[in-house]
Amino acid sequence: MSLLAEVTGSLGSIGYGLAAIGPGIGIGIIFGQGVQAIARQPEAYGVIRQNMILGFALAEALALIGFVAPFVYGK
């Protein structure tokens, strides 16, 4: 069987790069909308910040799992 393409080197780094795309977009949306919400309603700062950080934590978990997985499953 002939190889058409081959990837060598640290596959974990590539995997982490791929895993970071989604959470990156998600975190951007969360904080963008959060800041916008605070600008519109500064008096609701406490509730907005708390929900913002909550959403950030949930989105960030995916990127972090992508970061740890190569250490766990690598070689």
Partner: protein, 284 residues
């Protein structure tokens, strides 16, 4: 293996640099990139209790040390509380009020007050354990060993399962989680298994992994740039410039790490409060 900057670079270069002076740019050996091994320590003492080995290594010692610091601080702060607080009591009260007003009351509401001692202990424990990562001579975030956050997440798991079953009934707890009212029937086919999985497995898993992975990544980043500073230090223009840039990055990253440590302690406590809140009353 006890990791400090010089030793890790020297150890990584063993057998490569004949003078034993470590690996530097231009000395013929490559960059000794740190890997997962820097998180493993040889035990100082091994205690065997009932056939189980307890390895007392650096992480355990740091945890014990941090616990003693926290207990001592709060004992000093609140041993003889006064109407007009002294300095230590003031700092303790600021921390306590931050957790009460910023987390407990904000998330759980008025009935959250009885969880404030638990949440405060949780917050300061996680924070101090994380802070060990930048504390000189300690320089190892205890929470970057996965079993420490896993243990904390297990405590939270047991707590919110117990509270949920006590306040909503065993069936009621799962019904409220799996079947929130007011949705079309076919949605429940998708939603119910996801929510059940979420409550049973995903919640404690992600709560532990989030804290662990943040500290793991942060520590690895700091070590990478520290080793990089040492490696690039060589008598050449590019070496000195690179070393200075790397060192500046270490300083900046240390500041950033301190921010992340506080933030992660906050998030861990916040999620605990959210889970408790979901158990006390159904979300709808």
């Amino acid at each position: 293996m006890v990791v400090d900057l010089a030793t890790s670079a020297v150890l990584a270069s063993e057998g490569v640099a004949p003078d034993g002076g470590g690996c530097h740019l231009g000395s013929g050996c490559g960059f000794p990139a740190p890997n997962g091994d820097i998180f493993f320590f040889d035990p100082y003492v091994t205690l065997t209790v009932l056939g189980v080995d307890f390895h007392i290594n650096k992480a355990v010692v740091l945890m014990a040390l941090g616990s003693v610091i926290i207990v001592t601080f709060f004992l000093v702060a609140f041993r003889r509380p006064k109407i007009v607080p002294g300095k230590t009591q003031l700092v303790g009260e600021v921390g306590y009020l931050f957790v009460r007003d910023g987390i407990a009351r904000e998330v759980i509401g008025e009935e959250g007050d009885r969880f404030v001692p638990f949440l405060t202990s949780m917050f300061f424990f996680v924070w101090v354990m994380n802070f060990m990562g930048v504390l000189p001579f300690a320089q190892f975030p205890v929470m970057s060993r996965v079993m420490f956050p896993a243990g904390l997440a297990l405590i939270v798991y047991v707590l919110y399962m117990y509270l949920g079953m006590k306040h909503q009934g065993v069936w009621g707890f799962f019904r409220n989680a799996m079947f929130p009212p007011g949705l079309p029937v076919f949605v429940y086919v998708l939603l119910a298994p996801i929510e059940l999985l979420g409550v049973l497995i995903v919640r404690p898993f992600t709560q532990a992994i989030r804290l662990f992975a943040n500290m793991f990544a942060g520590h690895l980043l700091l070590v990478t740039f520290s080793v990089g500073t040492w490696y690039l230090l060589s008598p050449s223009v590019i070496g000195i410039l690179g070393s200075a840039a790397s060192f500046t990055t270490v300083v900046a990253l240390t500041g950033f790490e301190m921010f992340i440590q506080g933030l992660q302690a906050f998030i861990f406590t916040l999620l605990t409060a959210v889970y408790i809140s979901g158990s006390l009353h159904a979300e709808h």
